[in-house]
Amino acid sequence: MMHVRVRLLVGLLLYPGLALQAQDMLDSLQLDAVTISASRGVLFDAGVKVQAIDSATLARYRDRDLGELLRDASPVFVKSYGMGSLATTSFRGGGASHTAVLWNGFNLGSPQNGQLDLSLVPGGLADEVTVQYGGSAALWGSGAVGGAVLLRSGTSFGGGLSAEAGASFGSFGDLRQQAGAGYSNDRLAFTVRGYRAEAENDFPYQVRLNGSDAERRQQNAGLLVQGLVAGTAWRINPRQQLKVDAWFADAERQVPPTPVQGAGSDHQHDRALRATSEWRRTGNKATSFVRGAWFDEELWWYGQGADSAAYSRARTAIAEGEMRMRAGERHLFGAGLHGTYTAAGSDGYREGRSQDRGALFASYRFRSIGRRFLATAAVRQEWADGVPVPFTWSLGGEYRFLRLFTAKANASRLYRLPTLNDLYWIPGGNPELLAEQGYAGELGLLARHAGRKGTTLEAGITGYRRVMDNWIIWLPAGNYWSPQNLMEVWSRGIEFHGEAGWRMGRTRATVGVMTSYARSTNERPKTANDASVGKQLIYVPMYSGGARAGMEWRSWCAELDAHYTGYRYISTDNRQFLDPYTLVGASLSWRIRAGRGCMLSVLLQGANLLDASYQVMLNRPMPPRHFRAGIRMQFNQPRRAGPAEPAAHAQTADE
């Protein structure tokens, strides 16, 4: 069984276009033995749209960051403040703290501001990236409102010795290196990877001055990002397994001034140590999990006119126990408990603050014998510092019909807790804040066809609706700002995606398209004169979409993609806005076997090929046309007979 899977995975790596076709086979293989240890979000959230980023795309973004990956490979709107600068998300009309990014099942969002800077998450951190659309607070807890991004670092057994090294250089002083090594036998597995990126980002941009366009060069935009990712797994006995992953990241970044400012010298230093662990025991009927995590995040900010750094630090310990039990072929039950303790300090709090959160959760999955019908239910009750937050649930179902189609439906209750800054920032912090809460529902129709000669077709359309109440917003209260539960936000939209692939001899071609229509409006006046009622939230593009085409021939692979982002309003009355933009990118890669177990690949990539002058966020210029070139060497010496292709070690073992 395992070998079949490994071969499949290798196949996926070599022929990314096969992903769709293979997915069905994987599905059916996984469902029996594997399902029970799959991610909670995938297992117990039927009816939601799920997108697994294919491994070829992941490989291309290995030395980029998660913000760039999501921007190019998903309809998530990534709010990027510039090359290498802060990047947050808007997912299905939500705000930056309404997307949960989970690494090995643990939420990476800062307990202090509820956000995660995606530009600091290296593409190489995860071996699997799954985008789970819509709310899944019943599975993941606070913050999984607009969607969740599931990152999973994998360490597999029986792979032997492997090593990799890569380097790339690009426009505007962009230099990146990474190296890693791993070893595994049937009982133990280790991997370690280091990465480093530095860039000047001194790109030219157009600015409008006194009626004519002038060219300026971005200044104070340099960065140096370094990190280490290590993982180990130990198969204690055939039933028990322990897995530990750790990630240390250190980033020194200058913060460029906006074009409307003079010179700037702001800079920030981020440092984080994060570790996760999972112990798993697989029984005949039940599987138990004990998980733990430790996050220690620090930030120093050196701003204008400041004598010393503004400093903040949050340390979080998480423990979780979960049990899943099978009852016959059709039923799967799950239940667990979760505890998170956070201690945080900041110049904005005056004294240390902490938060203690506990949750009980349970879930159920039903699959009909013929696998035509799948249904799940999940419930979760969380307490924050002893106070219960809204009881959360989700219900979902999927039904396959006419061979081609799957109909999906999901409804859920959602919540988001106020962050520590919301509660305790001085001045303004409001300890009386309630959790945001609301309801979401979605309906989807998926059509999937796999032809005999390697032809694949997939198309899906999803409509969603969500109402969030007690939406937290910072507003002036006298001489300072204070967060209040003031807004009610109604979000609704339609997403479409389609993909097709063909094979002709040694040539494989794929095309894909995805579009998103997202309306997200405030429904309640915040103050007496509020003209934002019924208007689109700021920085939520109503229309966006992308298309891509890829072709593989022997060891060559070419990709072309284009993305459109529509108007983003920047004032709540929708009178001020940013113009739409279209970005076109292309890449060409070439792979060659360089000796036994050794693979060499070369990548050339161009971005913003139409040389659009654009801004994602107001007054944050983005780079013009730019290029990079990279080389990567991979080596694998299997312990014994097995697949020789080196990339296989990177895949997660769910055996």
């Binding site: 409008r208 906006t258 409307v260 006119g305 409509g463 917003i473 007054n619």
Partner: protein, 346 residues
């Protein structure tokens, strides 16, 4: 054919859904009228959002009631800059302080065409001509007050002042400068640019006016153990004559203004408060309550006492200006740029 039939409902659903979509292209704002009228009017400086570069100056023609939302962009073909703090009319020119762009732009008050830019500030707040072709500009983060040569439109000197300085006022050959963080009023001899005295008031000293009796009044938002207060200063003795404290709360006094006669003080403290200069106690309640509005700017027409009140709403949309008669009766409203912060009458 069979497949086509299968796909048809799918296509139909897609089309129906697309038909329900909304146009996202915003409506173009109305073009400006191109400058001001000849009569009396009030300029409204709109801060715009920090680092957004959407600072504007709006204009309200008192005789006709016509409003121009943005004077600068149509006249100069470029946005004015980031965070417009204040504006001063002097010698046939308008000096507009653009805080986070670190500059003071010099424009024609009628056409708003820019004639010069004074640069080199860190975080300029308020502009005050002090005679002899000089002006002082408070510079919030610089730790000094800039001396500007109005002939060359350049900074000619610095007067050191630790802490953050805000509004300033000229009286009897001296400039009185509020220092917010230190809770002081600096007294500067404008002939020598030397700091000659310092008057301790309350922390958060932010705005200053002169009354008909020749006394100076300072609004302080309090903090650091000192109460929010209105403080009356005798400029002959450079000493505090009276202090009118308030209970510390979410809303503290700021935006202190005085009417043309110089006998009634107005300030914001959530709502609009009014106090006659001869009163012996501070007002206990608002003259015009905030009523759910986010009142952020206050100005009193020196000619007829009309109260202009700026509502910044949620800070991320057009501000609303209210006009009230001297008796507190509402006269009307109009809309301006983002975050109206100050008024400048002509």
């Amino acid at each position: 054919m069979n497949n086509v039939k299968r796909v048809f409902p799918f296509l139909l659903a897609t089309l129906l859904i697309l038909a329900g979509c909304k146009k996202d292209k915003p409506e173009e704002p109305l073009p400006g009228t191109g400058g001001t009228g000849a009569g009396r009017g009030v300029y409204i400086t709109n801060e715009g959002n920090f680092q957004w570069g959407n600072a504007t100056v709006s204009y309200y023609d008192i005789a006709t009631g016509m409003v121009t939302e943005d004077l600068f962009q149509p006249a100069n073909g470029a946005p004015m800059g980031d965070v417009c703090q204040s504006m001063y009319l002097h010698d046939g020119k308008a000096y507009v302080v653009v805080n986070n762009s670190g500059k003071v732009v010099v424009v024609d008050p009628s056409t708003f065409v820019q004639s010069a830019v004074i640069t080199g500030f860190q975080s300029p707040r308020y502009f005050l001509p002090v005679g002899n072709g000089k002006a002082y500009v408070t510079d919030y983060y610089a730790g000094s007050i800039a001396v500007v040569d109005l002939a060359t439109n350049s900074i000619s000197g610095q007067i050191p002042s630790s802490g953050t300085t805000q509004e300033l006022l000229l009286h009897g050959g001296k400039a009185y400068v509020t220092n917010e963080t230190r809770g002081e009023v600096h007294v500067i001899d404008v002939a020598t640019d030397a700091l000659v005295d310092t008057i301790v008031v309350s922390k958060g000293a932010n705005s200053i006016v002169q009354d008909a009796a020749g006394k100076l009044w300072v609004a302080c938002s309090g903090g650091g153990g000192t109460p929010p207060a209105l403080v009356r200063i005798d400029p002959l003795a450079n000493a505090v004559e009276a202090t009118f404290p308030f209970a510390a709360g979410a809303a503290n006094p700021w935006r202190l203004c005085i009417n043309g006669e110089g006998d009634k003080l107005y300030f914001l403290k959530g709502g609009v408060y009014r106090m006659a200069i001869g009163d012996t106690v501070a007002p206990a309640s608002a003259f015009i309550p905030a009523d759910g509005r986010n009142l952020y700017a206050l100005g009193i027409d020196p000619e007829d006492g009309t109260i202009f009140l700026g509502d910044a709403v949620d800070y991320v949309q057009q501000g609303v200006i209210y006009r009230y008669g001297p008796g507190g009766n509402e006269l009307g409203t109009f809309q301006v740029g983002t975050i109206p912060g100050s008024f400048c009458f002509r």
